[in-house]
Assembly symmetry: C2
Homo-oligomer: 200 residues x 2
């Protein structure tokens, strides 16, 4: 049987994407699948679909970090409320595309989300993105340059438009072929789908 691919659309600005990012590679390993990490701009997804971030509803905003902390405990991963929230993630996402071109897409994505959601880093700042790149063995200065190149910018826009066209309205969004799974809380369904326990 062909090895299934999980396309993982991520935006570092999203706490549930950080949580899912800590789980998706072990999940894929259990399922015999591979993960393709694809940066996309959640803000543009919201614009295109009329959806909005959870924190846009005051009562949801009030509950959000409590919920995120519970998931972090559930998974046994660190989390700390960011100093800057929400954050402009476009530079980090462009750097994510550049890192993927160098074969370090997963490592960079994981590190940049941890920098923001656990280590207090302001990932809108070039020096923070550069340090994250260095922490996964990339040349930070070179990656920042590459991140500003037009083809990288175009790729981020294209990823975002593609995700919306395929039905995405939030993050994280996972695709296995045509099947979309939305949310950290749907990883259980994604895994059951891959194992054949549930149908599409």
């Amino acid at each position: 049987m062909e090895q299934p691919t999980i396309e993982f659309f991520w935006d570092a600005a999203s706490p549930y994407t950080y949580l899912a990012a800590t789980q998706v590679e072990p999940l894929a390993a259990r399922a015999g699948a591979v993960v393709v990490w694809r940066p996309f701009l959640l803000g543009k997804v919201f614009e295109a679909t009329g959806n909005r971030m959870p924190a846009a509803v005051p009562a949801k905003a009030k509950h959000l970090f409590c919920d995120v902390q519970r998931w972090a405990q559930h998974y046994g991963v660190p989390v700390a409320f960011p100093k800057v929230f929400p954050v402009h993630s476009v530079l980090a996402l462009r750097a994510g595309i550049a890192a993927a071109e160098q074969g370090s897409g997963a490592a960079f994505a994981t590190a940049v989300m941890r920098a923001y959601w656990a280590d207090g880093g302001d990932i809108s700042q070039p020096e923070v993105v550069s340090a994250v790149a260095a922490s996964v063995g990339l040349d930070g200065a070179a990656l920042l340059l590459q991140a500003q190149a037009q083809p990288v910018k175009d790729q981020l826009r294209a990823n975002t438009e593609e995700a919306v066209r395929r039905g995405a309205f939030g993050a994280p969004s996972f695709f296995v072929g045509e099947q979309m799974f939305w949310g950290n809380d749907r990883l259980v369904l994604l895994e059951e789908f891959l194992s054949g326990k549930i149908a599409a």
Copy 2:
């Protein structure tokens, strides 16, 4: 140790509330807790908080029933897209309060959500609510009368206002003391909280 209470705020119009309703009593039994089933009007919660139903975003609406079907497979429970959607659930909720006064709150709530989300019943209709009541051993005609009494109407309004005051913005909402858990997909966290695996 005192037996914990799970307050379960439910509205039969919500598919995720139906899904959660199929799981909450076994969960409580495992945790040594009791469930208090409390009807509330989700539409009024949305009005009060500025939140909105998932189906209000077209891309979410398109994905909604696919997601609900996956959860139904995950749990091994029946589901069928309702003939009337969305539905006016106020009569069913008032009947739920009247049924609870007769000690059949859980049985009626479970049956009325199954009637709507699995059996194609239009629970906005008195004869459907009456038949549901009869199926759990209640006098349907008497329950409909009781459901129209002012104290029952007032109780539904009071439940809704209380839930909002305590932080609810959607359904299902669960409370263990001051701790709120929102969503069918948070049952795993609710259970871990009750077992002490995660802190509040």
